[in-house]
Amino acid sequence: MYFPSKKKNAVYVSPIKQDIHPIDFSLPTEPMNHKRKNPDPSPDSDEPTTQLSSPFPDEVLERVLSLLNSRKDRNSVSLVCKDWYDAERWSRTHVFIGNCYSVSPEILTRRFPNIRSVTLKGKPRFSDFDLVPPKWGAYVHSWLLVFATKYHFLEELRLKRMTVSDESLKFLALSFPNFKALSLLSCDGFSTDGLASITTHCKNLTELDIQENDIDDKSGKWLSCFPENFMSLEVLNFANLNSDVNFKALERLVSRCKSLKVLKVNENITFKQLHRLLVLAPDLRELGTGSLLQDLTPRQHSELKSAFNNCKNLNILSGFYEVTSIFLPVLYPACTNLTFLNLSYAALRSDELSNLLIHCPLLQRLWVLDSVEDEGLEAVGSNCPLLEELRVFPASDPFEDEILHGVTETGFLAVSYGCKKLHYVLYFCRQMTNAAVATIVQNCPDFTHFRLCIMNPRQPDYQTDEPMDEAFGAVVKTCTKLRRLAVSGLLTDLAFEYIGKYAKNLETLSVAFAGSSDRGMECVLKGCPKLRKLEIRDCPFGNAALLSSFRKYESMRSLWMSGCKVTMDGCRFLAQEMPRLNVEVISECGNDGCQADKLYVYRSVAGPRKDAPPFVLTL
């Protein structure tokens, strides 16, 4: 493909902007222009060097660019020159906005006129852990109002950590005639009434995915609101809703929707009901079971097993709320093609997991509870050579119950010996050693995501009593592809020196109860060129750390610091020096010397937000 000379046609862009994540809104936005540009290949700029411009008419360029799906690629394309910028913006149909306050709906719709699918993320990630007070913001409604006029043909909306009201859902259902897919993850502010609006009015719905939201679960009536002639559903996930749905309505729905590929039911669905659903939908790719808890007669056992056996396309299994041992063998026929097994709601024992995994040779992703213990993880290492991702969640609250069981370094080691392709791990454990982690990353040097949570804050290496600095040092030195890191245990500034020195591809870093002084944070800010998200809680980092590389924040999506030592005057200074950052503080008092309890800094082209609640101070 001929590349027009960058020098002659390039829109001048300051170097720092090159690293900006997805949408680069620093480029001049054009007045909304419905008409396509003139197909004449000569550029409409005044520059004399027309012979070096792209020989392709715009339509061709757009057609070619429309094949690009990766947003990183599209971002790069849009920076090449003005022609490409325009072609890209006309051909983009899906947009991802990692921080809903980084841009306004007006700016978005002005730049991209043809969007059909929007992904929006709202609150800072630590809101998942109750660190963000309620009514903080991230309301989707203002976006929907603009989309209703500018993106009338919107088909997909995927929201994460946004506040969504029933009114918004109703507005959504009524405003977009082509609406197809709704996905809500970790959102709040709505009830099952809002879902009923969607199921009642969205005639073309293909996907309804409701996951882990803070929802007012009033009833399961929403499911019965699908019209009797409605047939287009392909994805239905109501696993995290607790109210009973009308099973007959569900049955009829499943039997009508011949293209159903994903069905995740909630824990109220019994195994008998599950059996009937499987018989109706043997082509499922993804299944979330209900509760598998009752007594099984031999006949029921073989019927259920046979139903699972008929599901030849099943790749992903989840659910397993309350599962007893006798049910697990019925799954074995379905396990041969499993690539993802989510057992993170099932408190399985090690032997139960082991027996199950023998039948899962193709497993690539596994989520379990630590009830399986180290022995269970040894079975993972022995049976799943293709494993790429492992997540081990705590089965019981470490504050409430004694952690008598759980997993240790032994389990993680066992997995690393057997699963050479492992590159994503989330591991909640009660103890760890530096030596174990060093061995683990030697076995698996390709980690892209390493999230280790030693559940007791500031716990040292339990064998040597040393800090865990060397563990994370080994991780960053060995795993050159590392993009995401979460650290834990007792850590001094040395750990952060290592991170700054070696983690050259690191994009996301999560830190809690770690570090000895400002130097720790300084090392990370100075050293990690690709850092986009930094979230810190309860660390001894203060103003000096915050301000050590403050220009860097413009190349990042966001910074979160809570429970640290930054004070109001430090935050004010930052806000002053960097007008294109939004510096938001939640603090008990606003005087200079006061501690800034929660600090959230993010770049934005939309200016300070207008919907901040009274407890959020925008400096």
Binding site: F129, Q294, R349, A395, F399, R458, S516, G563
Partner: protein, 197 residues
């Protein structure tokens, strides 16, 4: 690993508005020292008061000692798992059925047994109402002294020790975990259980 561990987050527990656990919870200093001794924990960098057992040699010391907050308070948002998942945490069960969820119910004179799931009921009133509906009879009024008065039936259960007990005597949670099966007694046998000793 310790079940209750002392955390020193004086920076945060004071300032943070959100807290789980009772306000002002405090533990005795002996417990603190004890838990440190058991833990063999390194003293936390910004609280050298608590466990003076081992020196922290390699830390750059910052010596702001803020007032020690009530230790043993739960830390907000820790461990970092989503609330949805946290609400689903459950104590490890070795066999779900051993905890007595599904129990057989027999009634004197009835030709066959029934089975119920105790977890469906939130307490005794609901359970008794369900039994009344299931077997079409009336249970009398419960009193601690005299058992069930006012009808010929008495709901009883066999507990883990194999003893037959009157339903209602122990707290509901204890009942749920110890009940192996239910039997609705009739007639003279029922009256017999009401008297103590």
């Amino acid at each position: 690993m310790e079940s209750k561990v002392a955390y020193q987050n004086e920076l945060n527990l004071k300032a943070t508005e959100l807290r789980l656990g009772l306000p002002g919870t405090d533990i005795e200093s002996e417990e603190q020292a004890l838990s440190c001794a058991r833990n063999n924990k390194r003293p936390l960098p910004d609280n050298t008061k608590e466990c003076g057992l081992k020196g922290s040699s390699d830390d750059a010391q910052h010596s702001d000692h803020e007032a020690a907050p009530p230790a043993k308070a739960q830390i907000v948002g820790w461990p970092p798992i989503r609330s949805y998942r946290k609400n689903n945490l459950q104590p490890k069960k070795t066999e779900a059925e051993a905890s007595g969820i599904y129990v057989k119910v027999s009634m004197d004179g009835a030709p066959y047994l029934r089975k119920i799931d105790l977890r469906v009921y939130k307490g005794y009133p609901e359970l008794l109402k369900a039994l009344e509906n299931m077997f079409k009879f009336t249970i009398g009024e419960y009193s601690e002294r005299e058992g069930y008065k006012g009808s010929e039936f008495a709901p009883t259960y066999e507990d883990k020790d194999g003893d037959w007990m009157l339903v209602g005597d122990v707290p509901w949670d204890m009942f749920m975990s110890s009940c192996k099966r239910l039997r609705i007694m009739k007639g003279s046998e029922a009256r017999g259980l009401g008297c103590g000793v």
